[in-house]
Symmetry: C2
């Protein structure tokens, strides 16, 4: 008897795994096969629907290029990325909690998103990366500490955001770096820089993921946010955002990335004297946030 | 409170579905979200593993072009395609069994595979589509009936296969049609044609699915088979294969497509007189198979 029955095709696939298979890969691929087969049975998937799924996934792959990652977007919009982030956060917090003398919780993480660009320029503290870009100026400042509240010097604070209309440099025609920089904390763990106040924006909705969101009846918008990657040897690297507290869509982020602890009031200031010796001729904002890194 | 917890992110995603969502799409996407989230939790997926999965799926999509469908291959090699086929077969058989006067079971289906090419030439019965191609000649004949054993005239028997080395025309350089044709049954429901005896071959293993198979410790081979799509108005279209009974890999088809009822003895004949007025100067084979179509 060479054939399997409908009832045992799942086991037939799993039985093909040979003993040499890497144990962790075996664990993951076994769960993939079981869940996808269970899904097909549960919804009684029709051949035409299967073909639609194949065509959808193919389009997702073919929409990816070196500036656009539609599979990450698919994962983001189905809450998968954020689930992975939160599970990692839970592991990290559990580790940090083992240290009974710790007094500060590690800062919460959120999704990295598709617009991180490695190698942003390293700039002096206080630099303005928003100059000349659309948007209202904002001054960011705060400290980076460990979970005992001790200042951490020379921590890299790698920041990136869209402009005041929610457009990232990677989405612009000339494709040079904009609104990105790496800053390093001073001896007191302090960082500060000028940029713009981030604006809400839609995730790219002209591809297959956009079609999926429309079929689900969902809007594609993310609340305004500035991305931060905060890292130094000896500490768990942190990838997170800060969200202005008055942004629309905080309660319906298209990628499920909002954490209450990352929602920050942006104070509004009239034109005039401003930090770092600036004199502003327009309304500007300030936001203050302290980060805490867990030990590696 | 705008944020969800790890425990409720799955529900948060499902809660975004609006009432206007098409009910069937809602059912499928709900199952997709639940199963993918459950999978991530079950294996405690690490961020690095998530990124590997994203990169794998992206490569699968980018390997697809108008001649290669790597997502179908992924579905095939994980037994998903065959599961969908078997569920459809089970529905069809259940329908056919309602007719208590039926005396013949509908022919079993199997996977379509990635090499179907619509619009193969319509040729007269008895034509030879294997001439000039590598491989041992084979004469195919049989009848197409309904489930009462009544002959069905003018049924299209759309056949395709690789050559005697397992290579399909779509994989060849010049990319013209080879070893494909559409035949139509005569008034007695009969079909016959000459082609080659199909040979076992590996599914394309130079892409991401090949990497996956190697990681699973699996060979990429399919037993020899000739594809048949058999269809006429008023009947459920049948997509199936015939497998030579002496082929290697019948017990470990890389795409789980073998059904015992589709394994056919290929009779071996010495050179000399052969059907359709041929005189063969080499060994040739004959295979006989009757198809039964379920009413639509």
């Amino acid at each position: 008897m060479t054939q399997h029955q409908t009832a045992d095709i799942t086991q037939a696939v799993l039985d093909r795994l040979t003993p040499e298979t890497d144990p962790r890969f075996r664990e993951i691929i076994t769960a993939v096969v079981k869940h996808v087969h269970a899904l097909v049975r549960e919804v009684d998937l029709q051949p035409g629907e299967w073909m639609q799924a194949i065509q959808f996934l193919t389009r997702v792959g073919q929409t990816c290029d070196d500036k656009r990652q539609e599979f990450i977007l698919l994962s983001d919009t189905l809450g998968i990325s954020m689930l992975v982030v939160q599970m990692e956060q839970a592991r990290r917090s559990a580790q940090a909690l083992k240290d009974k003398s710790a007094s500060v919780k590690p800062t919460e993480a959120t999704v990295q998103g598709p617009f991180y660009w490695q190698g942003a320029p390293a700039l002096p503290l206080g630099s303005d990366i928003g100059q000349g870009m659309p948007g209202e100026p904002a001054y960011y400042s705060g400290r980076v500490t460990d979970t005992h509240g001790q200042a951490l010097a020379n921590v890299c604070v790698d920041v990136w955001s869209g402009d005041g209309e929610g457009i990232y440099d990677m989405q612009m025609q000339d494709a040079g770096m904009r609104l990105r920089a790496r800053f390093h904390t001073d001896a007191q763990g302090r960082y500060d820089f000028w940029s713009i106040k981030p604006f809400y924006y839609p995730v790219p909705a002209d591809g297959p993921v956009g079609d999926m969101l429309r079929a689900m009846g969902r809007h594609p918008n993310r609340p305004g946010h500035i991305h931060m990657m905060v890292y130094r040897d000896g500490y768990v690297p942190l990838t997170t955002h800060l969200f202005p507290a008055d942004s629309p869509y905080l309660d319906s982020d298209a990628v499920f990335g909002v954490r209450d602890s990352l929602v920050v009031p942006f104070e509004k200031h009239a034109p005039g004297a401003a930090p770092r010796g600036k004199t502003m001729d327009q309304t500007w904002h300030s936001a203050s946030y302290d980060f805490a890194l867990a030990p590696a």
